[in-house]
Amino acid sequence: MSKRRPYVRSMDGWWKKNPFYVEYMIHESTALFVAAYAFTLLVGLVRLGQGEVAWNGWLEAMKSPLSLICHVVFLLAIMYHTYTWFKIMPITLPPIIVGGKKVGPEVITGSGLLAAVVASVFMLGLVWRIAQ
C-alpha cells in the first residue's frame, strides 16, 4: 500500500506572506480609487442634467473640506496606479523590435509614464483655459 500522503498547505492570507504580493494587492486596490473618482464625475454629470440648482449644489459639495481631502487621496492613489500600470506593461506586450533590437522594459515603462504626464498636462491646460 502506498505510504504517500501529500500535504497541501493552506492559501489563507497568501498575500501577506511576501512583500511582492502586498505591493501587488496595494496597486490592484488603487483601481478602486480610480473607480471612485470616475463615479464622482459621473454624479456631477447627472446633477448637471438635473438643472442649475442641482449642478451648483454639486459644485458646492466639491468645495467642502471632506471633498478636497478625498480628491487629494484620489490623486495620490491614481498616480500610484498609473506608475504601477506602466511598470507591468512590459510583461503584457509582445516584443517591440526597433532597428533590429528588442525595446527594453525601461523604455516601455518610461514611454508610458511620459505619455501619462503629457496627457495630464494637456488636460490640465485645457481645463485651465476653459475655466478662465
Partner: protein
C-alpha cells in the same frame, strides 16, 4: 581553516507522511564556509544530523532545475543561493510553495508534468517534409522570436511564485505556457491553433492576474509572465477573429 568555521542556524520545514499530521519546523546548527550553498547546508544536515532529510538535487550549477525551495519565503534554486548571504541570521528553508509536499523539501510535481505534456512541447511541422528536402532554414529574426523561452529548466520556481496557481492548481501555469509559447513562436511549428484550445480554456491564460512574480524569480530570465500575457492577447484575437475566418482551436 578553523577561523572560517562559522555556524548558521538552518530552520527546515519537515514533513514525514508516515508519521506527521502536518509539517513542522526543525532547527539545525550548521558549520559553513563562504563557498557553501544552501543546498550544501541541507546536505550537511543529511550527512551529520538526520539522514532522513529528503530533498531533490542533481547538478549543483543551476541548470538541472531540481533543487528549488523556499528560502526565507522566496522561491530560489538552493544551489546558487549562498549561506554567507544570510549569516548571522537564521535561514528558513521549506518545500516550494503552492505544491503538495511529498516529504520534507520534496513536492509532488506530477500535475506539472501532465501540464507539460498537454501543451505538446515539441515541433509539429506545418507540412510533412521528407529528408531529401534538407534541413529547415531559420533566419536570426525567426530564431530570436522564441530563443528566450527555450531557456526554461522546469525548476517550477515560477509556480511556487504564482498565487493564482496556489489558488487554482488546475491553472496550466507560467512555465508550461512559456514552453507552449516557445513552440508557437517557432517558424518550423504549425500547431498554434491546436494549442489555442488550452490557452483559451478554463485552466488557461486567463487565470493569470499579472502578479508578475513568476518572471521575477525565474533563474533563467525566461519571463514566463510575458509569454502568458502575450497569449491573453492571442486568445482574445482568436476569439474575435473566428467570426471573420473560422479555423483552428476556436472553430
Amino acid at each position: 581553516m578553523p577561523d572560517s568555521q562559522r555556524i548558521i542556524e538552518i530552520e527546515v520545514l519537515r514533513y514525514n507522511p508516515e508519521s506527521d499530521k502536518e509539517p513542522h519546523l526543525e532547527v539545525y546548527k550548521v558549520p559553513f564556509s563562504d563557498d557553501m550553498s544552501v543546498l550544501q547546508g541541507a546536505q550537511y544536515i543529511k550527512d551529520h544530523f538526520d539522514g532522513s532529510l529528503t530533498f531533490r538535487w542533481s547538478c549543483r550549477m543551476a541548470i538541472c532545475g531540481s533543487c528549488g525551495m523556499m528560502i526565507n519565503g522566496i522561491p530560489k534554486l538552493s544551489c546558487e543561493t549562498f549561506l554567507r548571504d544570510y549569516f548571522p541570521n537564521r535561514i528558513r528553508i521549506e518545500a516550494m510553495a503552492n505544491f503538495p509536499i511529498e516529504k520534507d523539501l520534496v513536492v509532488d510535481l506530477s500535475g506539472f508534468i501532465e501540464k507539460l505534456e498537454s501543451i505538446q512541447p515539441y515541433i509539429i511541422p506545418r507540412e510533412p517534409r521528407s529528408l531529401d528536402q534538407g534541413e529547415y532554414i531559420q533566419s536570426p529574426e525567426q530564431f530570436n522570436a522564441y530563443i528566450q523561452f527555450t531557456s526554461c529548466i522546469n525548476c517550477t520556481l515560477c509556480y511556487a511564485a504564482c498565487p493564482q496557481f496556489g489558488l487554482n492548481p488546475d491553472f496550466i501555469g507560467p512555465a508550461a505556457i512559456a514552453l507552449l509559447h516557445r513552440y508557437n513562436m517557432d517558424s518550423r511549428d504549425g500547431a498554434a491553433a491546436e494549442r489555442m484550445e488550452l490557452v483559451a480554456a478554463e485552466e488557461g491564460v486567463f487565470n493569470c492576474s499579472a502578479v508578475g512574480y513568476c518572471s521575477e524569480v525565474c533563474p533563467k530570465h525566461v519571463d514566463p509572465a510575458n509569454a502568458v500575457n502575450i497569449n491573453k492577447t492571442n486568445a482574445a484575437k482568436d476569439y474575435f477573429l473566428r467570426f471573420l475566418s473560422p479555423k483552428g482551436g476556436s472553430k
